[in-house]
Amino acid sequence: MDVATIVQVLESTLRLATPLLFACLAGLISERAGVFDIGLEGKMLMAAFMSAAIAYVSGNVWVGLTAAVFASVVLSLVHGVASITFRGNQLISGVAINFLAAGITVVVAQNWFRQGGRTPSLSGNARMQRIDLPFVDAVRDVPVLGPIYTILSGHALLVYIAFLCVPLTWYVLFRTRFGLRLRAVGENPAAVDTAGVSVVRLRYGAVAICGVLCGLAGAYLATGLSAGFVKDMTAGRGFIALAAMIFAKWRPWHAMGAVLLFGLLEAVANRFQNIEILGVGVPVQAMQALPYILTVVILAGFVGKAIPPRAGGWPYVKEH
């Protein structure tokens, strides 16, 4: 393996990790506030479709992005109404949202574009453009630093935003009053309520932020990573993000590590069909299954126990 191949694989890792990172942080914020969300996949899918469809019609990727965030937040609010207001089962609501998105995107795509449930290919300003970092050509040949800088350069704006969201999420969760309350509402909502802070408002806030981030994930998927929407294009990424969130034990910096690991696995699986580790051939399917296997192992607590927020999954019922 030469340097050029390694650079390519790592560049691809960053790109593949981006939608995972957005979705993972989305799930993290929602679950930190005590609302389980297995509907990340559906929200991403809906956003992917809306971004591609609206970007194609308007010719402007940023209009598409806005539509994507809007659609994703709408689904988030459905989840909020079901799980916060009507105190329904959050897991079942998540499942429903995944199917709703899987169905509605194809029905509407077929109706709008008549291309078998996909959008036309995007080009020009309807796609996210790569941004070259300054002096990238000048430092390309510098040893060590050159390849690293090359890996970091030439991605769409959302890639950089995704990685900036990591310190931002950390700061909001652990250094602001809103974050403190948000975490408290996921651990002990009764205490937050006693302090005179609205549990319902905080949880809706968290669910809405989750929607915005899933919207960005989907928009990047359809207009940055690919050039258009195809049926079921999220292909389980929402669940990998969920896995990454558990793997990271609901902590932002660790989430970045987890999605980079899972992104690397995907990049390697895409690049090489057969991998040999210590002379033993590893089938590509094993690489694909690895994130899920790792998550099960982590959840089982064999390698450090993953403990979710204490009030996660339970609707809050105010005492009378």
Binding site: G88, I92, V95, F99, G103, Q110, G117, I293, G301
Partner: protein, 365 residues
């Protein structure tokens, strides 16, 4: 579960019916919004699913799949466990059926059917055992582990089909065909014995009767055996069950074994009854439809049976719709999602007007 002040019969009939009505109404708006006529769509679907024995055949074939996966989810729900892994368990069940049918020469279909059912149940149960064990012993959330196991199952099956079972020289990731001697009798052959004519085309087969038998078996198990009582007690209140000497570990593992076995047995219908070989997408989402079926059927085997017929109708009707109009099959996925949403997550909202209605009639009476 808070059922408010409505009688039990209303809770098990009106709530699901009202939910389905809501789901249909929203779907009708969607059909209208994409420029088709909802009325024409309903007519096409009913005609396509129930208008001929051909339509009935497909409706019942799909329904058979959903009976198995619906029962699987319902049994787990009885113990308050959400087994979302029916898809993976059914995939593994398919692998069990394929191994039994390919590697052992069976003299007659009837023996092969019993062996394949056991193989499917065994593989499905084994795939549910690990999440069950992890939930019971290590406290890993069963929903997350069963989701992960769906993906692991898909990868495992991909590996088996590409590298182990594939016909040599073929590009198609599928197993060889099963011997034709063990093809299951189709419904038209069974009905032919008593002189009822039935379309020979649809793949509905004897597995339908197996499914109905499983409905009775699950009912008997849940309401007529000690284990069933323990399962329901555990589902009602875990601390109370524990106080009564019921072991949560034992119940969780037993329930997941039964649930996984039922999901796995779906493969008898789809893999052995229809395709007669193992292919990648042998389950086609039926594991997930089981969730909607169990929710609609209120976790009761008879309810599951009725809900499975409803979803069989939706799938066959949806296929006809896609054939004759520009409405794609995915419309059914939307209806399915709405049914899950209203019966499973927004049930308190659906229940509200019904509760109010009963309160008013009570005051009037």
């Amino acid at each position: 579960m808070r059922t408010g002040k409505i009688p039990h019969w209303a809770d098990v009939t009106l709530v699901p019916l009202f939910s389905v009505a809501l789901a249909f109404a929203i779907s009708a708006v969607l059909i209208w919004a994409i420029g088709e006529s909802p009325w024409e769509a309903v007519k096409l679907m009913v005609e396509g699913a129930f208008g001929s024995s051909y339509g009935w055949g497909y409706t019942l074939f799909y329904a058979t799949n959903f009976i198995f996966t619906g029962l699987a989810v319902a049994v787990a729900f009885q113990a308050r466990l959400f087994n979302i892994g029916g898809e993976g368990q059914a995939l593994l069940g398919g692998l069990g059926v394929a191994l039994v049918c390919l590697y052992i020469p069976w003299p007659h279909w009837s023996i092969a059917l019993i062996a394949a059912s056991l193989g499917a149940a065994l593989f499905g149960a084994a795939w549910a055992l690990i999440p069950g064990y992890l939930q019971a012993k290590r406290g890993s959330h069963i929903v997350i582990t069963t989701i992960m196991f769906n993906f692991i199952a898909a990868s495992l099956l991909g590996y088996m089909l590409v590298s182990v079972l594939r016909v040599p020289g073929s590009q198609d990731p599928a197993s060889p065909r099963f011997p034709s001697e063990i093809a299951l009798p189709k419904l038209h052959e069974i009905l032919g014995l008593v002189g009822i004519p039935f379309s020979t085309v649809p793949p509905v087969n004897i597995a339908l009767l197996l499914g109905i038998a499983m409905c009775f078996a699950v009912w008997f198990m849940l309401w007529r055996t000690r284990l069933g009582y323990q399962i329901r007690a555990f589902g009602e209140s875990e601390p109370a069950a524990q106080y009564a000497g019921i072991s949560p570990v034992r119940i969780t593992i037993y329930v997941m074994l039964i649930s996984g076995a039922l999901a796995g047995m779906m493969a008898v219908n789809s893999v052995m009854g229809e395709q007669q070989r193992l292919v990648m997408n042998a389950v086609e989402g039926a594991g997930f439809i089981g969730i909607a079926v169990a929710l609609m059927g209120r976790n009761h085997p008879f309810g599951v049976f009725l809900a499975a017929i409803l979803f069989g109708f939706l799938y066959q009707g949806g296929a006809e719709l896609a054939l004759w109009t520009s409405i794609p099959r995915e419309l059914i996925v939307v209806i399915q999602a709405l049914v899950i949403l209203f019966t499973g997550a927004l049930d308190n909202m659906v229940r509200m007007p019904i509760t109010r209605l009963f309160a008013r009639t009570r005051r009037a009476g």
